[in-house]
Assembly symmetry: none
């Protein structure tokens, strides 16, 4: 357990140790899962010894939770950044949200955190609340508000907001999940291009969302 007293700044470069350990742990937990990842591997990948890991994290489970929490916070930060200050057609906002999320989250190592959550929440129930508060609710809110905005501005027809939000989010998360499980295995068919998938999805959704009258006019936003 790290000392709670302010340490004298003797080892300047040692201060990045916890983050290096968290990064190493994220990569390994994503690749192999919690149980199959050995503490010593995490330490080795971070360039320190087994003992040092326990200087910063009291147990493997705590390290795991720190990894999830840390990456969840990063995730929500990304999300908020994406949603701020947009003016223009809701369809364009939706399109940008999707592409930017994939670019900044889904396709980065942070995208692996979803696999971890899916695989291990039931073994670490304390993470559930955390995940709900930090990711599910904010992300849902951003998309739901965009939908609502589109409906209110007459850009979308009056779909049920909650359910449609789920339908919009699911394929994106699924894409991220896929990248780190089946998609990561060799001998799989040549994987589909994520960007093409997102476009196809967006096209499908957008057409479905548009009221009949304005549909033809707006179909070429993407």
């Amino acid at each position: 357990m790290p000392s709670l007293v302010t340490a004298p700044p003797r080892h300047r470069r040692k201060e990045s140790r916890p983050q290096e350990l968290l990064d190493a742990a994220l990569a390994l937990f994503v690749e192999k899962g919690f149980a199959a990842t050995r503490s010593e591997e995490v330490a080795a990948r971070a360039g320190v010894s087994k003992g040092t890991l326990y200087l910063y994290f009291p147990s493997k489970a705590e390290l795991f939770k720190a990894v999830v929490r840390g990456n969840l916070s990063a995730l929500i930060a990304q999300g908020q950044q994406l949603a701020e200050q947009f003016e223009g057609p809701s369809a364009l906002l939706l399109h940008q949200l999707m592409h930017t999320w994939w670019q900044r989250v889904g396709s980065t190592p942070a995208g692996g955190i979803f696999k971890i959550i899916v695989a291990e929440v039931r073994n670490f129930p304390e993470l559930a609340q955390f995940y709900r508060d930090e990711v599910v609710i904010p992300a849902h809110r951003v998309v739901a508000r965009t939908l609502q905005r589109g409906i209110e501005r007459g850009e979308f027809r009056a779909v049920p907001v909650n359910e449609t939000t789920h339908t919009l989010i699911a394929p994106m998360l699924f894409l991220a999940l896929h990248r780190h499980s089946i998609g990561a295995c060799a001998a799989m068919q040549p994987e589909l291009d994520p960007a093409a998938l997102i476009d196809a999805q967006f096209d499908l959704m957008l057409n479905g969302l548009q009221p009949r009258a304005t549909r033809a006019a707006r179909r070429n936003v993407a």
Copy 2:
């Protein structure tokens, strides 16, 4: 060396044992993951002793593979059975595929298999190959053919088939995944109704798929 205390009663049930063990294993693997499930737990849940498990499955990994194999083969059979010998509008077929899948797989314990696959497939390379050949490809084919059928019959507009197939399948799988991970945790917001989600998704999709002219007429198939 045999125990001197009275042994527990024994029951001979060779025929039914394998399925009981597979059911127990499915439930536990879904709940805790492969690595975190102990062989003895599986045996205990099936009402037998540790040794009996190994009478039917040579190792925990083989048990795992048998679970996946057994449940997924049934799943594939369901889908193909439904798609062949279907006469009627493609939208209706799509709707029935979705609801039947949810009824027979997604909402049953077998739906948890996707969570296992996502979580563990990277640790079992041979399973990846199996899963691709036995599940991914056939399932993809069923949906893709239905789409193709709809396009050819002029019921759907000419969307890119592969990408759209992914977009149709992903939310269903995601729903199953969700049920067995975050959705299984207490302290989550009251879960959305799966049927409502599927309907919303179907409505969204269907509208997106319809060519402009016939759209108004067909919107009330669901």
Copy 3:
């Protein structure tokens, strides 16, 4: 445990079961050793089921001891048969003892019993006394008496009888041991011919045993 009461002779052919089990056990114990031999294998080789084995022998250890005892008695019977009623030169007797022993014991499955004894006496101390009484002492006596006879008749020089007896017996036993350990492994150099070895040994010994004066005359007994 077999019943001690005289059983009605209902199953005529079943009466050979114990011996079939003992034979199967001998072969497997010789091949793999006590610990590495599985009870079920013994039963299978004898053509019966696991449970039947325990009808005749209360435990694997008892089966093992029965195997050793049974084959030791056979061994000593062989030995006595060899030694009886011989008239003629002691060298010839020695020569016949050696060859006949190899022919009737060393080269037969019974020869494997020596490997078992060597490998396991220390784990089954009760066998030690048995082996000494049934094999070591009688065998030693036969050879020692032959030596003594030769010395008394002036055929051999006055060697120390006990030690020389050991030197005469050891290579024969070693040959039998070898056959069932290193000699039984593939990838060994083409094994030496046992008969040639015995002859070489006999020639060496005999020449060593002869007093100087009579040596040339007797060298061609073999």
Copy 4:
């Protein structure tokens, strides 16, 4: 999960651990055989815990091989060292080889290795190859060359070298075997003196090897 009770003291002795473990393993393997020796017993006898054993040897089988390798390589070195750079009568060399081998190997715990080999080699085919290459062949060569040397120098008569080599080696190995099997059991008759046995054997052999003419003159080398 760590025990809550006070842990036993730890000693760091990385350098000496492997040899201590090898010694413990040798003693136990010789006493009980490979299969009947438990890993934990070996560790306990070396004064360490189960886990420590596996820090130095990746498996019980590898530990076994290390034991054989370590002890037999030393043995081989001794023999070759003695045979090369020896000047003097071949009978004396033979006599020294025998006594040195007994002193350095046969009478030490390493002598028990032959019992392990005899008992277990058929269960470890790779060990058979190793043992042949590292032990059987070099040892045979040393003795065979000495015989050849004696024959060429006219000290011995022209016996068949291979077979006679076997006859010379066998009683020594048998003596070692005996010491660690039957000879190690209580209730055996007072064991013969090994030195007396070796001398008797040597005397017997030597006289047998001598050509008639020089025999009387050379008999007192020992």
